[in-house]
């Protein structure tokens, strides 16, 4: 489903040139749950943004669903993104002016779905996340855990092939964090590919595989089943 070859990202400002990703290559198969770990500033989020088609790499190749997408235009990326990828963020990133229902509905609107179809899908996503009773509430009226459930509902509502989660439990207490992780795990069991950036070893336990980054490079790719341990330096 995902294959990267020598993915490199360099940020330039007037004075400094920072290599956020340095020739990163790996592969993720359909249905996998992969955690990306590493210290702050190691390039986790940069990698996630590129994988999520929010940003283009400076160099290297990125195959997503069989297409080389590293040189896609903004419009092409937006198109592919809205059809295939759902996002969950650490700080939820819900739109404050829209209520729960409307937030979850948003991706479907951009997909151009009819209102009846949207209603069906939103209801089902809300149900799945057990947040139906809060449908008329605004984000600021919800607890962090509830907000993240809404965010997950929004990420899955369009049935994406891939969900990208950026520290999904970072702003939650442990109980709510676990709740969200269980949701993600159950989604994965349903067949959705999940890539999650996290600091938390506990959260990483939910994944089948952990990719460890340090200074923009993969230092360790660990398949938890213990079958193999492939250093990729």
């Amino acid at each position: 489903m995902i294959r990267t070859v020598n993915l490199t990202k360099i940020f330039r400002t007037d004075e400094v040139e920072t290599t956020a990703l340095n020739k990163v290559s790996f592969e993720i198969k359909k249905g996998e749950f992969v955690a990306i770990m590493g210290p702050s500033g190691c390039g986790k989020s940069t990698l996630l943004n590129i994988l999520g088609l929010l940003d283009n790499p400076s160099e290297g190749e990125y195959y997503f669903l069989g297409n080389e997408v590293s040189r896609f235009s903004e419009k092409q990326r937006a198109n592919s993104r809205k059809q295939n990828i759902g996002f969950v963020f650490q700080n939820f990133n819900l739109i404050d002016e829209l209520n729960v229902y409307e937030n979850v509905e948003l991706p479907l609107i951009y997909l151009g779905m009819s209102s009846a179809e949207r209603k069906k899908k939103v209801e089902s996503a809300l149900e799945q996340m057990q947040i139906t009773h809060r449908r008329k509430h605004f984000p600021l009226q919800l607890s962090g855990g509830q907000q993240q459930r809404v965010a997950v509902a929004r990420a899955v509502v369009a049935n994406p092939h891939l969900i990208l989660a950026d520290e999904p439990t970072g702003n939650l207490d442990s109980a709510h964090g676990e709740e969200v992780m269980n949701l993600l795990a159950s989604l994965n069991q349903g067949g959705t590919t999940i890539i999650m950036v996290t600091h938390s070893q506990r959260d990483a336990e939910y994944a089948q595989r952990i990719i460890r980054l340090f200074d923009g490079q993969i230092i360790n790719e660990n398949i938890k089943s213990g079958r193999s341990e492939i250093p990729v330096i």
Binding site: A78, K82, F87, D96, E97, L98, E105, Y110
Partner: protein, 803 residues
């Protein structure tokens, strides 16, 4: 999708009520001011539109260049001109003459007596050319025979009430009886030449008093011609020199310089500032219309700039939303749609409020301008189309930059840490717009200061004549002057009356101007204004003598045989010592002697300060008096003394309506129009400056809000807050100065052009310019201090949690 946009728009506006309100107030006030000006401009440009043939109608204008007054354009022409034009040029389909009924002081029916202003002698062709609609009578013949009069509906009602069938009835115009031959529909007031009584010109053409009407020497009539097509104008104008040679110069002596041209009727109302002796009922000024259009556009621009600036500043807060929408698959176009639909919504709301504000402001404006403006959605499609256009233009102008700017955000970046507008291209744009706004404000402020001084100057300048505590009442007919002695004596018996004096008018001069020949071998000629005044007129009106003496009752020859001139006349004639100089003849003076100059009076303003004081010559000839000037002591109760005068007047002249001209009002009248428009100008300028301040207030609030964190950190660390404030102040002062540097020279140029219209004017000085900049600087300064003070006073912990 639209409903989602609108939901977001409405809720986001509600969430940021403060800025939404600033935007909304700014826009609605801006649009309201714009609409008010549009109504004014529509009114001014809507004159004479009822004349269906106006595209082919022209007024004949003469250019005279006579010694004394210099080159002047006049709209009065000779009696035979209309006929000659029609005879000589096949392109002239029709021609008509208008002459105000100078000789008709009073129109009466039974015991109803009125002075009529809309009374004109005219040719029968007027009916076709001015598409006059008849309610009764035969348009083809109504004005063909002498002693015929056509009345408007209103006039019929005024004299006859509800009496049916007034056709064929007679009424008195002056001393003669006329037969009503037609009733016409009332003319609209929005015309440069309003008339409600038309008299056949043949009624006077053959009278001895009007002998001059047959010659080419005297100008008294307005001539309009109708051409086969408007393009013929050029052909005719090219042939005018030849036409004048043949018809005027060959027959009439005395003309040294005369040219003619055709003025399109459409231009008469607005573009006749340079034309004298127009005898029109209303005159506008294209210059003012342009000035107001410019102000309207500037106000709208200021409002738009506010909108854009606040939207850009707010974009920091909206950036996150844009980022999320982008992540969820929104493309740029849909974001642009979203923001434009937001500004569309806001503008639509603003337009509704603006229309309400206009309704509120209209009564005041109508009172000020003595107009009857109203919003007419059904009948005024231009206005409706204009509103729609405003909606589209403002929505796009105000919404597009934020739309394109925001939609360009990289979702990754904005979701990470927001974006600050500082240093980015939007930051420069924002500053540029603030400079632009200040430019408008500085420019308008500068204009207000200068125009205010000019109006003050005109109000306070020594006119050389005192228009105070006196009234002037017109006689009913020429004989009244001779019969006024008993009234005069009786009035003077009352201790409150200080003087009674016969004269042409309150200002001492008549409406006539003409050549006067000096009694010398060189046949020196000077065009002068004629004035007919009593021996005590100058004294009564406080006009001072610079040489010689006044008319003296004890010297019999003074009556008609002596003249007094003003300084301008002496100057033009090159007389260092005018006393004793003689003229060959002077209109209205004794024809058997050569009138001699016995005195020179100080140049006083007999017209408004827009025009130069022209040479004038005064004769003491009671036969030429048009009314009485009655002065009373300042201490006396004005109401009761005027009532007393009225009672006495009615006793002596029961058939002459008592319609006094009050001196104080007359003086005010001369600058009233300037003052009126100046008030309007001040109102709109104030609005524009307030809008700028409002925008600055909003923008500063947002900028300081963005700096809340810095202010918080500084306070936690115990550092001074003023540094942030002083930086902001420093930045803005610089912007005001830049704005001043650009706006002042431009405005200076514009104001010089405007002041040039005034013959007597102030000079623009540095004080005006510095004040404008200082005022604006202070406003900006206090706005920032106020906001910064509040921000600095906030709890730093809250400030730090903010991001």
């Amino acid at each position: 999708m639209i409903s989602n946009f609108l939901t977001t728009a409405v809720r986001s506006l509600l969430r940021q009520k403060y800025y939404a309100l600033i935007n909304l107030i700014g826009l609605s006030v801006g649009i309201a001011a714009f609409l008010l000006i549009v109504l004014y401009v529509q009114h001014e440009t809507g004159f004479d539109k009822h004349l269906r043939k106006r595209d082919n109608l022209f007024r004949v204008v003469e250019i005279q260049n006579e010694p004394g007054v210099g080159e002047q354009h006049v709209a009065i022409t000779m009696g035979p001109l209309a006929g000659a034009l029609k005879a000589d040029f096949p392109q002239v389909v029709n021609a008509v003459r208008f002459m105000p009924g100078f000789d008709i002081q009073v129109v009466s029916l039974g015991n109803k007596n009125f002075r009529e202003r809309g009374l004109y002698y005219t040719d029968p062709s007027v009916i076709g050319m001015f598409n006059i609609e008849f309610l009764q009578g035969n348009p083809a013949t109504a004005l063909s025979t002498p002693m015929s009069v056509v009345l408007s509906e209103k006039t019929v009602e005024k004299y006859f009430g509800s009496t049916p069938n007034v056709l064929g009835k007679s009424m008195m115009l002056g001393k003669r009886s006329f037969v009503i031959t037609g009733i016409m529909k009332d003319q609209p007031m929005q015309t440069h030449l309003f008339f409600d009584i038309l008299v056949s010109i043949s009624s006077v053409e053959n009278q001895a008093d009007f002998e001059w009407m047959k010659g080419w020497g005297s100008n008294s009539l307005i001539t309009y011609i109708e051409l086969d097509q408007s393009e013929s104008r050029q052909i005719i104008e090219e042939k005018f020199p030849e036409f004048l040679r043949k018809n005027v110069f060959s027959k009439e002596e005395g003309w040294e310089f005369l040219e003619m041209y055709l003025q399109p009727l459409d231009e008469v109302y607005l573009e006749s500032q340079h034309i004298k002796f127009q005898n029109v009922s209303a005159a506008g000024d294209i210059n003012l219309v342009i000035v107001f259009i410019v102000i309207a556009v500037l106000i709208l621009l200021v409002a738009c700039v506010n909108f854009i600036n606040i939207s850009i500043a707010r974009s920091v807060k909206r950036a996150r939303e844009v980022g999320i929408r982008k992540v969820l698959g929104a493309d740029r176009l849909s974001l642009v749609y979203q923001f434009i639909s937001e500004s569309l919504l806001l503008t639509l709301l603003a337009i509704f409020i603006a229309v309400g504000l206009v309704e509120l402001a209209l009564p005041e404006m109508n009172k000020l301008l003595a107009t009857d403006f109203h919003i007419d959605f059904r009948g005024n499609w231009i206005f409706n189309a204009g509103l729609f256009l405003i909606l589209i233009i403002i929505s796009l102008a105000a919404g597009s930059y934020p739309a394109f700017y925001l939609s360009r955000f990289q979702p990754v970046k904005v979701l990470k840490g927001g974006s600050s507008i500082k240093g980015s291209s939007a930051g420069y744009l924002s500053k540029g717009l603030v400079v632009f706004q200040f430019m408008i404000s500085v420019g308008l402020m500068f204009s207000v200061l200068v125009i205010n001084d000019q109006v003050d100057y005109m109000k306070n300048k020594d006119l050389g004549i005192i228009y105070r505590d006196a009234i002037f009442v017109f006689f009913g007919d020429d004989d009244d002057a001779g019969k006024s002695e008993p009234l005069r004596n009786e009035l003077l018996k009352d201790s409150r009356i200080r003087t009674v004096s016969g004269c042409s008018f309150l200002n001492g001069v008549s409406g006539s101007q003409g050549p006067v020949f000096v009694d010398d071998s060189a046949r020196t000629k000077l065009t002068m204004r004629f004035g007919y005044v009593d021996y005590n007129f100058f004294e009564a009106m406080g006009v001072k003598f610079v040489a010689g003496r006044n008319f003296d009752r004890k010297i019999a020859s003074d009556k008609g045989g002596s003249v007094i001139i003003n300084q301008a006349a002496a100057r033009k004639l090159g007389w260092d010592n005018p006393l004793g100089m003689k003229f060959k003849t002077v209109m209205g003076a004794d024809t058997t002697v050569k009138p001699e100059v016995i005195g020179v009076i100080n140049d006083y303003h007999y017209f408004s300060m827009r025009s130069l004081i022209e040479p004038a010559i005064y004769v003491w000839n009671p036969e030429m008096f048009r009314g009485l000037l009655i002065g009373y002591y300042a201490e006396s109760d004005k109401q009761s003394v005027r009532k007393y005068i009225e009672d006495k007047w009615i006793d002596h002249f029961p058939d002459t309506p008592f319609q006094p001209v009050v001196a104080d009002d007359f003086a005010a009248e001369s600058y009233k129009n300037d003052q009126k428009l100046f008030s309007l100008f001040v109102y709109f300028t104030t609005i524009s400056v307030l809008l700028s301040v409002l925008g600055l207030f909003g923008l500063t609030s947002l900028l300081i809000e963005q700096k809340t964190r810095i202010i918080g950190i500084r306070r936690v660390l115990g550092g001074p807050v003023w540094k942030i404030t002083s930086q902001l102040i420093h930045d803005y002062m610089l912007l005001v100065l830049i704005a001043g540097a650009i706006a002042l020279p431009l405005t200076y140029y514009f104001l010089e052009q405007q002041l040039r219209q005034f013959a007597y004017r102030i000079d623009i000085n540095a004080f005006h310019m510095i004040s404008a900049v200082v005022i604006l600087t202070l406003i900006a300064f206090f706005t920032i201090i106020f906001k910064a003070y509040r921000a600095a006073g906030a709890n730093p912990v809250k400030a730090l949690k903010y991001e």
